[in-house]
Symmetry: C2
């Protein structure tokens, strides 16, 4: 149901409204009165008036319809009061009280489950519990006991959405210091009913909001988050995210703090990448992204020209931009020549451009230099280093230049003497620190480019055969056959059930070949001697059959379906591709070179499904060890395009299998030299035998 009554209420009742302006029931009262909110109904059995407004003994006595009720009462009284509110038709509530699941105690957990059940049963939208509430600056509505948000603060078009009350106040203050103003500030609390994705969906549609800054500890509904993020992307609104838990210790602390489901950190990275959000590497970066978004129309990417009155500053900025993934393209010869005409020999013109300290004060050259350096089509943004008095004397020229530009000029003044307001009025951004500026423009520019990409959609073109009931896995043969139906090239094998057939099949396939025992009960066959490589003739094939089946018969509980024979390929590069299910975000594809590359160097790439062939190829090309596929040490280049198609087909197969699958892996996928394709030598399909059980539990 709509969050309009919660976030844009026309009338509000406060249960436990207080005359004490330092209490949870007094602060929102005071804020709303000061904001001039009219339809405000304090409920307090002991007073007939609270902070100058008529008070009512109970919610039933309030004479007008109420959109939203704030509960500033203890957790033990909340549910009963909510039932009464529901009875008179109230559609939304904010529960400030703590004492729910965050206590990690049975009573609190049960209380939260009851609250959620109430909300789901009645349809009332309940925010919190254990939340600080919200501030809606667009409409002047303050339903929070936080004291950082004041009715006098300007309204803006940035929303702030956090899973921590303190970080809500922190980011708000940081962003205000840069002049960013807000539409909504929301602290989600325990998210018993209204959750992070619900708020995000509201903000995606909110006409007063252009950008959302998110502080995230753990997401509960990955799919809903991805959908809301897609809505942001579709409308060009900025979705900026800071996620805590990049380190083991941090993740552990966040889990302990929220008691939420632990999504894998790599899955969050993959999800954020897939949904085109802007990532802040530090909390302060959220504020900086919001600040840059105020100039967003003039930023197309993060390729920067640097104009400096100090060679040192130019070098520092080139470092900071490069290390944060931004570009510092060399300026075209013609531009360099024009600059050179007015810059002394010891200044630099290639980018960074060092005007040297001599020029800025004396003539109009800065105006010209700004226009020159921003003229190349591969330059997105100009960063001008003008500390203190340099900036002062250059202001007129800067303003004049910026007025006619459709690209952004960012001024950096490390003396911190410039007027942020005057520059903002001229459409010029201002930072007093090199690295903060570089981090911000790189993250923002990357988002701007990413957000214009079209997300891939994949509709599976085939079906899985019926899965064997109760089995934890498919046999290798069945797994390869099933994947082949989706377009994964596989090594064709022959399944034989006696030594005589093994001889015949071997002669047909040719040599050398590989013999493998087929059983649903053994995952790691090499370790049990159930794979024989380099079988060279019919006699050896028969012998392998006998030996391996004898070995398998000696292993308890191992069913034997036969032995497969397949050609033994050589000359390719082995890679692996697997799909696992993240508890929050669902299917995640992992691609790597296998062996030490995967195990020791962690040289793998992750993406959420769907992934098309172009996406799979980008994953391969992003591996540090990609050169092994690209003609390393004189080897032929591998058929990367074919490998990418095979990986995309694997992803398609997993999407088609859906909930019935637990994990699917091709290992190795042998990538042959260019033009000769790639082929799955072995495949593992694990089935989700627990689906029915889980579905019951969730209900």
């Amino acid at each position: 149901m709509s969050l309009i009554p919660l976030l844009k209420p026309r009338s509000i009742a406060i249960i436990g409204a207080s005359t004490n302006m330092k209490r949870v029931g007094g602060i929102p009262m005071e804020l709303l009165v000061r904001a001039g909110f009219e339809k405000l109904y304090p409920v307090n059995p002991k007073n007939t008036e609270v902070q100058g407004r008529t008070a009512y003994p109970d919610i039933e006595s309030v004479p007008e319809p109420v959109d939203l009720v704030l509960l500033a009462i203890g957790a033990e009284d909340v549910l009963a009061y909510l039932e009464r509110c529901h009875a008179i038709g109230i559609k939304a509530a904010i529960v400030f009280a703590a004492g729910y699941a965050e206590t990690n105690e049975a009573e609190g957990v049960k209380r939260q489950e009851e609250l959620r059940a109430f909300a789901w049963r009645t349809g009332m939208r309940v925010a919190g519990p254990n939340c600080m509430g919200n501030a809606n600056f667009s409409d002047g509505i303050f339903t929070t006991f936080g004291t950082s948000f004041q009715p006098g603060d300007p309204a803006g078009r940035t929303a702030l959405l956090t899973q921590s009350g303190n970080m809500c106040a922190t980011v708000y203050r940081m962003a205000r210091r840069s002049g960013v103003a807000f539409s909504h500030v929301i602290n989600t609390g325990n998210e018993a009913d209204v959750d992070f994705a619900d708020y995000l969906t509201f903000l995606a549609e909110d006409p007063d909001t252009d950008a959302a800054l998110c502080y995230i500890e753990e997401l509960r509904e990955g799919e809903a988050f991805l959908k809301a993020a897609a809505a942001f992307r579709a409308t060009g609104k900025l979705l900026a995210v800071y996620k805590v838990g990049a380190s083991e210790k941090g993740a552990e602390a966040a889990r302990s703090h929220t008691a939420a489901l632990a999504g894998d950190s790599a899955a969050y990275d993959a999800a954020f990448a897939a949904s085109g959000v802007a990532r802040a590497a530090e909390l302060a970066g959220l504020a900086d992204l919001a600040y840059l978004h105020c100039f967003g129309a003039k930023i197309a990417g993060s390729a920067c020209a640097i104009l400096s009155v100090s060679g040192a500053a130019g070098a520092i900025l080139a470092d900071a931009l490069s290390l944060n993934g931004g570009g510092v393209p060399t300026l075209p010869e013609a531009v360099q020549a024009s600059l050179r005409a007015s810059i002394p020999a010891f200044g630099m013109v290639a980018n960074p451009v060092d005007l040297t300290g001599n020029l800025v004060n004396s003539n109009d050259f800065l105006f010209e230099a700004v226009n020159l350096t921003l003229s190349p089509s591969d330059i997105d943004v100009l960063i001008v280093y003008l500390p203190g008095y340099f900036l002062e004397s250059a202001m007129d020229q800067l303003e004049r230049a910026a007025a006619r530009l459709n690209k952004l000029v960012i001024v950096i003044d490390t003396f911190a003497l410039g007027s942020r307001e005057r520059l903002a009025a001229a459409g010029i951004a201002y930072f007093d620190d090199f690295d903060r500026a570089a981090r911000a423009i790189c993250a923002y520019g990357a988002w701007k480019q990413e957000s214009s990409a079209t997300p891939s959609r994949i509709t599976p073109q085939a079906n899985w055969p019926a899965f064997p009931s109760g089995e934890p896995a498919l046999s290798e043969t069945a797994a390869k056959q099933a994947l082949a139906a989706f377009g994964v090239p596989v090594v064709h094998d022959a399944l034989v059930r006696n030594a005589a057939d093994a001889r015949i099949a071997a002669e047909r396939i040719g040599y050398p070949l590989v013999a493998k025992l087929v059983s649903p009960d053994v995952a790691h066959k090499t370790e049990h001697g159930l794979i024989r490589l380099g079988v060279k003739n019919a006699e050896a094939a028969a012998e392998a059959f006998e030996t391996m089946t004898a070995k398998a018969r000696s292993m308890p509980g191992v069913r034997i379906e036969g032995v497969t024979l397949e050609p033994m390929l050589s000359g390719g590069v082995e890679i692996l591709a697997g799909v696992t299910r993240d508890p929050v975000f669902g299917w995640m594809l992992t691609v790597g070179l296998g062996g030490v590359w995967t195990e020791l160097m962690k040289d793998v790439s992750h993406k959420l499904l769907p992934v098309d062939a172009a996406g799979a190829e980008a994953m391969l090309r992003g591996l540090k060890g990609f050169k092994l596929l690209d003609g390393y040490r004189g080897a032929p280049k591998a058929d990367v395009a074919a490998a990418a198609r095979a990986i995309a087909a694997l992803g398609e197969a997993v999407l088609a299998g859906g909930n019935k699958l637990r994990e699917v892996e091709i290992n190795p996928l042998l990538v042959m030299p260019e033009g000769r394709g790639a082929v799955a030598v072995d495949a593992l399909v694990l089935l989700n035998t627990l689906i029915e059980k889980r579905t019951e539990e969730a209900a």
Copy 2:
């Protein structure tokens, strides 16, 4: 010669002293007058008085002895005037003028060479040219035309030493905002005579200085820098360094700006690591390191306890500390139990400790919690997150706790409302940003621990044989023999000169063995078919001899010294160790696993010589691929200690060879299973045939 006349002059003359307080000749005059500097002699032929002081028409007319002369005149007049100053016994000068080597033009370069020649001939210490000058706050002496340094600024015990005037002013202002005060502020300029290491040596001995903050673009004298850094280390003074050029683009810009010798970025890292300096990853980090050094006596390392009123802040801090190399040790059970007694179930007690928002206001528990969390011996520092009003109400308890602690408490208030001064007075550090605080304490703590380590010294215990004159390299046999003298275990080989001898030697060595052609003229023998592996009997050894010598005879200009036979070892892990000469810092040891590990993953470790066995083992253990030596996938653990001894012996050999060597490499060093040693299978010794020529050029 001493820098005392330059940095602590008793009397100063200003050539070109100006009445205009905005000019290069007017600013230092104004600053010195305002600072009440007495023995100040403006030289100006047009005025009898400048800014209230008696002026003289020329330096010869000054009636008192002059320690330091400031030249505020054009570059073309500088040298002649310096000669006059020298003639009357002046010992130091600062040349403000630009127009020297920084112009990248022949005239300027020549002018700088002449200036240097003058200084070296006369012994006068000449600062600059193209510098902003210095400010000595300890003695109230301002010999700069920079306007950021004011006589009213407090004196402190931190020095600032930069290769850029702008960064000098920037870091000064940044640090002043944290309350850091300075002894000396020095901008080195072109360093024609007095160079970076000279200033650093002065500061290491300066009784007014406890710490130096350095902005570095390029060092010219690596050895002198290392020596000065060692003096800092010996006295416990902080040497904090920010080096520009971490990225390609940044390094390129810095080079273009300074036209200095391009030291390798890895060599700078190795040099800074070897000399125990504190590294700032960002310019702002320099100011933060200086700030923490004010509390330095209370900081032993970077293992932090975190006390927070917000679970979110605890998690963010745990992330930031972990990602910057700091520690967040789990608190002992007893401490956790004591905390738990006063912290609700939903708070955390392991570290981070989440007091929750309820407690701080109500009782003395914060006092107790501070003492509890700092009590474990493995905790160096306590970080307390107390935003805004939490800090306000906790101040008394914090002050009371800090008064009796010999470990540092750092307060973080992201609302930026706290009083840095009041906290500093109580010995408590203050930050308003999580990540800046984490970067600072991690870098500072790492320095503190590193600076207490004893640098290794190695005196070579053997000698190289006479080097063949004019040869670019030793033969493999000679190389291995020479290294063996220093204790590098090598594969012993037999050198044979005909097929019959090959048969005999092979029978003695045993099989399988390796046969290699010996020639000083072929570096990559495998590629030319001049190595034969797996020789299995005497017949094959003779055949290998014939074939390879025939092949070598067919190659023009290849001298043949014979063929070596050596046992073919197996079962070990191959690594490589090499020493190359960096133009700035000298011998740098590189250790890696070779092959794709070195080439694709860049998984190597660098250290400047000397490196002892413990240092070499640390290098090996620091490799990402170290697990390959540590019993990967069930393989036996490799004899890492023996490998480390062999690598240290290689380093010792290079130090003994000195200038006569160009590069020495062992590749592979075969590391056998534990207890079975490591052995150099092949070695390369390249000789410095150009020494004589270079020595001539330098003269």
